[in-house]
């Protein structure tokens, strides 16, 4: 008998406790088994879904954005490969060395690398982190040739929007920008998601839906570290549709060249259908900057610049029309029967209305002028008289017939309506009644009246195309190619001037005289073999008196830029059956005849070269 052997009493107590212990253990194990029941049977579905979610990832296949072409199929905008530098953190052996090497090869700032890595710390170690987008050829070559020294570094090729001619036509084409929250939740961008680049202006915006294409996707199985094990399913992306514009690249280029160093706008249109051939707004910007990721300084410089490079002056620039407005007043006078072709007025350089006197631009006056001379030589006095006879309300009524004071309907930007004043408008706006002197200022295109270059081109086209007001359009077709179109150009006739043919002929003749008469103000747009018709306009920005004062103050006896006149020229060619209508505006360009008319001539010259003038252009 050992000391530790049980005596019967303690044996009983032991056994009793063992029973209780057994019970406790069975209960605890039941809890454990119930726990498995709860996880696997009750919530099994939920956890199965979670495990699938863990395992299966959807990778994006971004679609190629459609190209933008000129009317002849020349590419304005396409996509080019962007070689992007990525690092797979898990595969890097020596971070210090890698960062130094990258700095030596590509000049990548070590701090920025660390910053980017920190930002994506939460990602699984096998998912690549982008270090640098769009490497140069040189950088790419260096990376490729040192690849063996850079474990973990990979180069991915992405598609990047490429505006081939940089600043050219940028106001038409527009630019891309990252989609914002508001746009995402608007429901208008189905299929886009955060981080996508979408059209923010111009054609890129107008045709965003078609240009964008349809995103594809890849269902892949990944392991915990993010490494792709296999591709389960794949859906190819569908590239976006191409957009063919009505713009002619060569005409556009000539117009842009003529505007270098100037501010202003040029619009050229086919007068028979409203197709825009040229649209220039100067200064311009390079939309490539927006794709590459514009830095804040450049952006601020652009957005806040007094030169407003982002504004499309052709649509949104509102200017006094100057003497170009005389076309409207002349037709109003003829239609209303206030004047006749033969009526003459003596211009001695000054016109008196009550106690005020109004000057003609030509000192000493034009002498005896009829309507033909009044337009061709742009006599102000003739129109002062006509204006007084017509009154502002009738003038404004006719201006509206030309589509002034309302949007032309071209929807590629923030189009402005301009302003056509009348009595009611002034009373409402200023609470004052209209003054007779204001009518006189209005007929020579000063005072309140404001127009945009695109309105002017539509108006001058109407005079020569039988009175048709077309909605200007910029798209010929949208689709995979010309044979597989989703959308095709259809001319939109908004209305007709409804004027008598003989009245139109009178004005047309006078406008031919503007260019072709020995005394015509627009003679610098003259061609030997093509009859160009047009009208010049010179807009005073400040009064002549003030202009002279400022000139004297300036040390080199020049008028300060801001005080110089705006120069207008509107034209059609050939006058008998116009193929092209043009409006040129040069801000602070001086005289319409000397600054704007030569620019129009250059464009017409190119149009002749490209057979727009002598042949059916379609």
């Amino acid at each position: 008998m050992r000391k530790s052997d049980f005596d019967p009493v303690s044996k009983d107590i032991f056994n009793k406790r063992l029973k209780r212990l057994t019970l406790i253990i069975v209960v605890v194990f039941s809890i454990l088994i119930l726990r498995f029941w709860f996880l696997q049977v009750v919530n099994g579905h939920m956890y199965r879904a979670k495990s699938e979610n863990n395992r299966i990832r959807i990778l994006d296949i971004p679609p190629f954005r459609g190209m933008i072409l000129d009317r002849n199929g020349e590419i304005f905008v396409d996509n080019r490969p962007s070689y992007d530098l990525y690092v797979i953190p898990e595969e890097v052996q020596d971070w210090e060395k890698l960062i130094i090497n990258l700095n030596l090869l590509t000049g990548l700032d070590p701090e920025s690398v660390k910053l980017k890595l920190n930002k994506e710390k939460r990602k699984p170690p096998f998912s690549p982190v982008c270090l640098k987008r769009d490497m140069s050829r040189n950088e790419l070559a260096k990376i490729e040739s040192h690849r063996f020294n850079l474990p973990g570094i990979i180069v991915k090729i992405a598609s990047q929007r490429h505006y081939i001619y940089g600043k050219s036509a940028s106001h038409i084409l527009g630019y891309l920008g990252e989609i914002n929250e508001k746009q995402l939740s608007s429901g208008r961008y189905v299929g886009n998601k955060s981080g996508d680049l979408i059209g923010k202006s111009g054609v890129e915006k107008k045709w965003q839906k078609y240009l964008n294409g349809i995103r594809g996707g890849e269902q892949v199985e990944v392991e915990a570290a993010g490494r792709i094990i296999r591709v389960i399913a794949q859906k190819q992306a569908i590239p976006g549709a191409n957009v063919c514009l009505t713009i002619d690249k060569d005409l556009q280029a000539v117009a842009e060249k003529a505007m270098i160093g100037k501010r202003g706008a040029i619009v050229a249109m086919d007068p028979d259908n409203g197709q825009i051939l040229v649209m220039v707004s100067s200064p311009s910007f390079d939309p490539n900057l927006f794709v590459e990721g514009i830095d804040e300084t450049t952006w601020k410089e652009m957005a806040l610049s007094k030169k407003f490079p982002l504004q499309n002056r052709a649509l949104a620039g509102q200017y006094s029309p100057g003497s170009v407005f005389k076309i409207v007043v002349a037709l109003a006078g003829l239609e209303e029967g206030v004047i006749d072709f033969g009526d003459e007025v003596v211009c001695n350089g000054i016109y008196k209305l009550g106690r005020s006197s109004f000057r003609c631009w030509k000192r000493g006056g034009h002498g005896k002028v009829n309507l033909y001379r009044a337009l061709a030589e742009s006599c102000d006095v003739y129109f002062y008289k006509l204006g007084e006879q017509l009154g502002i309300d009738r003038i404004s009524e006719y201006a509206r017939k030309f589509g002034l004071g309302e949007a032309t309907g071209i929807d590629i930007g923030q189009e402005k309506r301009g302003l056509v004043p009348n009595r009611a408008w002034k009373l409402k706006k200023y609470g004052e009644s209209w003054q007779g002197g204001e009518t006189l200022s209005t007929v020579i295109g000063q005072s309140y009246v404001l127009v945009t270059p695109i309105q002017m081109v539509v108006a001058v086209a109407a005079v020569f195309n039988g009175g048709n007001i077309f909605e200007p359009q910029i798209t010929r077709w949208v689709g995979k190619n010309e044979a597989e179109k989703i959308y095709e150009f259809v001319p939109v006739l908004k209305g007709n001037l409804g004027f008598r043919q003989e009245n139109l002929e009178i004005v047309k003749k006078a406008l031919i005289g503007v260019v072709n008469d020995p005394h015509g103000t627009g003679k610098r747009a003259r061609f030997k073999n093509v009859t160009v018709a047009g009208k010049t306009g010179t807009v005073q920005v400040v009064t002549r008196k003030r202009q002279q004062e400022l000139q004297k103050l300036n040390k080199d006896n020049e008028i300060p830029y801001k005080a110089r006149d705006h120069a207008w020229f509107v034209a059609v060619a050939p006058a008998a059956k116009p193929r092209i209508a043009i409006a040129v505006l040069v801000e602070h360009g001086g005289h319409g005849g000397s600054t704007a008319a030569p620019i129009a001539r250059e464009i017409i010259s190119e149009a002749i070269k490209k057979n727009y003038i002598f042949r059916e252009p379609r």
């Binding site: 005596d7 303690s10 194990f29 809890i31 498995f36 099994g44 199965r48 495990s51």
Partner: protein, 374 residues
Amino acid sequence: MFDRRLIQNFDWVLLLLLLFIATISIINLYSATYAIRNAGGAQVFTKQIYWFSIGFIVLFIMTSFNYYRLERFANAFYFLSIALLILVLIAGKVTSGSQRWLGFGPISFQPSELAKISVVMVLARFFSEEGGYREYRLRDLGRPFILIGIPTLLILKEPDLGTAILVVVVSASIILFVKINRKSLLIIVLTALSVAPFIWLNLKEYQQKRIMTFIRPDKDLFGAGYHIHQSKIAIGSGQVWGKGFLKGTQTKLHFLPEQHTDFAMSVLAEEWGFIGAALLLCLYLLLILWGLNIAKDSKDKFGSITAIGIVAFIFWQVVINVGMVTGLLPVVGIPLLLFSYGGSSLISTMAAMGLLMNISMRRFMFQGSYIPKK
């Protein structure tokens, strides 16, 4: 020399249960390391087969002597393990921030494994020395507390929180079993509660984080809560029948961490479903209940209390590990005994199982010779 009754009394039930668990463990380890089979995973699998073979040899060695002798050597054994625990703090290998391993040439082992068994044995010896039944009061427990405290503190110093907790809960289980005075128990519990804040402040930051994660597991799914989150997904996604052998995606794609060690049970549950998990738990329950049966049949207190201590080991390791992988308990690095990969702990577990079998085989040694006291 060799008693024939030993053969007759050989505990086939215990052996079968162990073989069963070992087989499931090896199959499961094959799957758990399948995805990394070319990166050392295959080695893990074959190594575990070796460890089990050695383990069974150790088990038989542990049955070859009468466990009565251990009662005499318990103290010496205890002091040896204390000495080794001190030695490991001086000359142990440092792996991932803790000093747990002692190396002797090619063999290395954790002295804390030895300490676990020796604490059970000294406690069994202490509580069996009293001839009759009594209720222990606080003043009687001074010696046991010291016996438990010294190795616990040494293990905490390594640090190895998991093993330290295990030593404490197993010892506590033994003390509770041998019956403690109710008032004394109350005092101990209150003292423990008042000391708790100081322990909290002395915990390592990662340990505090684990406990916080346990309280708010959804708070940090990619940081501290990641393990448990992924383990629950693995287990839950197994549903009733499992995804099939080698088909567990959580395992194969490495979403599940520590899959062949601490989270081996999650691998089983993912691939074999509720059926597999419940089966394994039932095997452990049977093992425990069988152990209690051995304690009941033992004719002496030392054997009985030792058996209960070993059962407590099995019980607590299963509960802590399974509780951890299912998100019922905070993450404590305790592998599932007999099931997770790991040589040192497997050998010590098998030694303990051998001791249990030893007690079982000698339960009828005194058949017919027992004369009740009048």
